[in-house]
């Protein structure tokens, strides 16, 4: 694993990974196979990073929490540590770690530069092989220490699983409050671990189905603020909102194209049916992709932009269809017992996640883009609207139990393991997971 210095420019922040700290190329002695249905979480020790204040402890806590939530790691209780504060400039005393069954150890240090920035260095060690697996350092504004922790957790996850991480990501969703028949809905955004929660709209209008642009800087969503419900864009940095296009009828179900140049959505026709269109954000030209006397909605592009999956009831009931990006050759792919909707293509391209209604229940499932290999991952009274973690390994959706006053966000591993409820200040629905920044 060899990584050169890279620069991440986000929201005015310059976060630098200044370079590798003499990584010894090691064989993957330590490797988690994430594709298995059952995985024994890997015991790992995340030591408190050395620092002059609480920052070192806080960083190590965020890393440990990320890894624990993935279900693939079991961070060891710090009280069990023999070697309490491990200096990242020297190899840890491996015997002290193997004796408490830590298969990997992370140590690090936080110092402050003359200009006030934080310098964070850390190393990941394989305790049984007695080898360093990763060594990196970062310079960042003090306020961005959580992002550094998430990036470190992503590196550890990637090094030990062979899959990209997903911790340096955010979730946009709909915050729900008030009674069920007069629900107040606001757009909200937070880090994937719930930190840095922020409301983006004031609740005066119903807002639905927010989705990230590929560069994470923009949200497209549907709002009733104009009387006629329409698709909008929201710039996250400035808070500026903009009507995508002023159609006479309702527009809904928006998503960005993978290149971020287009929004694909449904447009209601005068006859009550809905068809799929794209809107080019530069030219403002619209292109019709479907023309059927049916409900065609919830379009989602394949990550390479070549195909689109969508929901249609053209065959009588809601089913999933795949067509070319120009609308050509629509082909039904769902054939199970029930109705299918809210398809969303995995960022890896290999699977399509969906909501299925069958036997009075709602299910979250996946199938291959040709419709084969359907697999139900989660079943419940009401659960809907999956969104993919950028590595295509984890899904988030929203669920409501019978009799509950509102829905909650949940995440689950693609294998069906590790279902977790995501803590939010109020009820939550319509989650969308951000991409990773490259």
């Amino acid at each position: 694993m060899r990584r050169i210095a890279r620069t991440l420019a986000t929201f005015g922040l310059v976060l630098m990974i200044a370079g590798m700290l003499g990584t010894i190329p090691a064989r993957a002695l330590l490797q988690i196979d994430v594709t298995k249905g059952t995985v024994e979480p890997l015991p790992i020790a995340i030591t408190d990073f050395l620092s002059g204040d609480e920052t070192g402890v806080e960083i190590s806590n965020v890393i440990a929490a990320d890894l624990r939530r993935s279900g693939l790691f079991a961070p060891i209780d710090k009280a069990a540590f023999i070697e309490r504060n491990s200096n990242p400039d020297a190899a840890p005393r491996f015997a002290d770690w193997t004796v408490i069954n830590a298969q990997a150890v992370v140590n690090g240090r936080v110092t402050q530069e003359a200009d006030g920035r934080l310098k964070v260095i850390y190393r990941l060690w394989d305790t049984y092989a007695g080898q360093q697996l990763i060594g990196e350092q970062f310079f960042t504004e003090r306020s961005k220490w959580r992002r550094v922790a998430h990036i470190i957790a992503d590196s550890i996850y990637e090094r030990l699983t062979g899959e990209k991480g997903y911790f340096d990501t955010r979730i946009v969703y709909v915050d729900e409050s008030g009674p069920r028949d007069q629900r107040v809905k606001r757009l909200a955004i937070m880090d994937q671990d719930g930190a840095n929660h922020r409301l983006l709209t004031n609740g005066q209008s119903i807002v639905l189905t927010p989705r990230f642009s590929p560069n994470r800087q923009e949200i497209t969503y549907m709002s009733y603020e104009n009387g006629q419900p329409q698709v909008y864009l929201l710039q996250l940095e400035t808070g500026q909102r903009e009507l995508v296009a002023n159609f006479p009828n309702m527009t809904f179900a928006p998503r960005f194209s993978p290149d971020g140049q287009k929004v694909i959505m449904s447009l209601l026709r005068d006859d009550g049916n809905s068809n799929i269109f794209t809107l080019d954000l530069r030219s403002r030209n619209t292109t019709r992709l479907t023309n059927s006397n049916s409900i065609d909605t919830s379009p989602s592009y394949a990550p390479d932009g070549s195909r689109i999956v969508f929901t249609s009831d053209r065959g009588g009931r809601a089913q999933l269809y795949v067509m070319g990006a120009d609308g050509s050759n629509p082909k039904r792919i769902s054939f199970g017992d029930g109705t299918y909707s809210t398809p969303v293509w995995s960022p890896r391209g290999d699977l399509i996640a969906f909501t299925k209604q069958s036997g009075g229940d709602f299910q979250i499932g996946v199938m291959r883009p040709d419709g084969s290999g359907e697999r139900i991952i989660s079943t419940g009274f009401l659960q809907e609207g999956p969104t993919w973690a950028p590595n295509g390994r984890v899904l988030m959706f929203f669920a409501q139990a019978p009799g509950a006053a509102g829905p909650q966000l949940q995440s689950i591993d693609l294998t069906g393991r590790n279902k977790q409820t995501i803590a939010t200040p109020n009820f939550g629905s319509d989650p969308a997971w951000s991409p990773l920044l490259e």
Binding site: P179, R180, D181, Q182, R183, K185, I206, L208, T209, M222, G227, Q228, P229, M250, F252, A253, S266, L268, D270, D271, G272, N273, S274, I295, T297, S298, T311, D313, R317, A318, T339, S341, T342, T355, Q357, F381, L382, E384, G385, P402, G403, S429, D430
Partner: protein, 168 residues
């Protein structure tokens, strides 16, 4: 935004005719969804008022699951609506289409829109001018009945005709 406009005049003869028509439409095999059906029509609302429309005519119809077909009971309600709207032609209307909570969000927005359009088309077929009618879908965003069984879901699958707004 939703503004009820008081009618400027209501001829007594026509109002009487409307009351008789309402009484004639209420039959035993319908789901009682208006005060008129329940025999409560006496004195409820000045003829030609929005209260008259809501209480005596019936401002809403209901749909079967995942369907926008106008049921027989709904046809009777819409026939009354059309007659009333043709009589009180000063009103513009907005038809809200709604879905129950047993569908997914985007599909239900489309389904609500289809129900509103089907309701509009029925009224237009009975002589209500299309340019008096606006439609809007709320999908499953505005249930009127909140419980987690069919007794509520069946009330939420609805199209509601609201009086208000100038004719365009």
């Amino acid at each position: 935004m939703r503004r009820s406009i008081a009618p400027t005049r209501f001829p007594a003869m026509l109002a009487l005719a409307a009351t008789l028509a309402v009484a004639g439409c209420a039959s035993k095999d319908q789901i009682p969804n208006t005060a008129a059906d329940l025999g409560l029509s006496g004195g409820a609302g000045t003829p030609g008022s929005s209260q008259d429309f809501t209480v005596n005519v019936g401002d809403r119809i209901f749909f079967d699951t995942d369907s926008s077909a106008i049921r027989a009971d709904a046809q009777a309600t819409l026939a009354r609506q059309a007659q009333w709207l043709n009589q009180y032609s000063q009103y513009a209307i907005t038809i809200e289409g709604h879905a129950d909570e047993r569908g997914t969000r985007e599909y239900n927005l489309a389904l609500g829109a289809r129900r509103a359009a089907a309701t509009r088309d029925f009224l237009v077929g009975r002589g209500v001018a299309a340019n008096r009618i606006k439609t809007i879908s709320y999908g499953k965003e505005r249930p009127v009945a909140v419980c987690d069984n069919i007794s509520c879901w069946s009330q939420n699958r609805r199209a509601v005709t609201l009086l208000g707004g100038p004719s365009s």
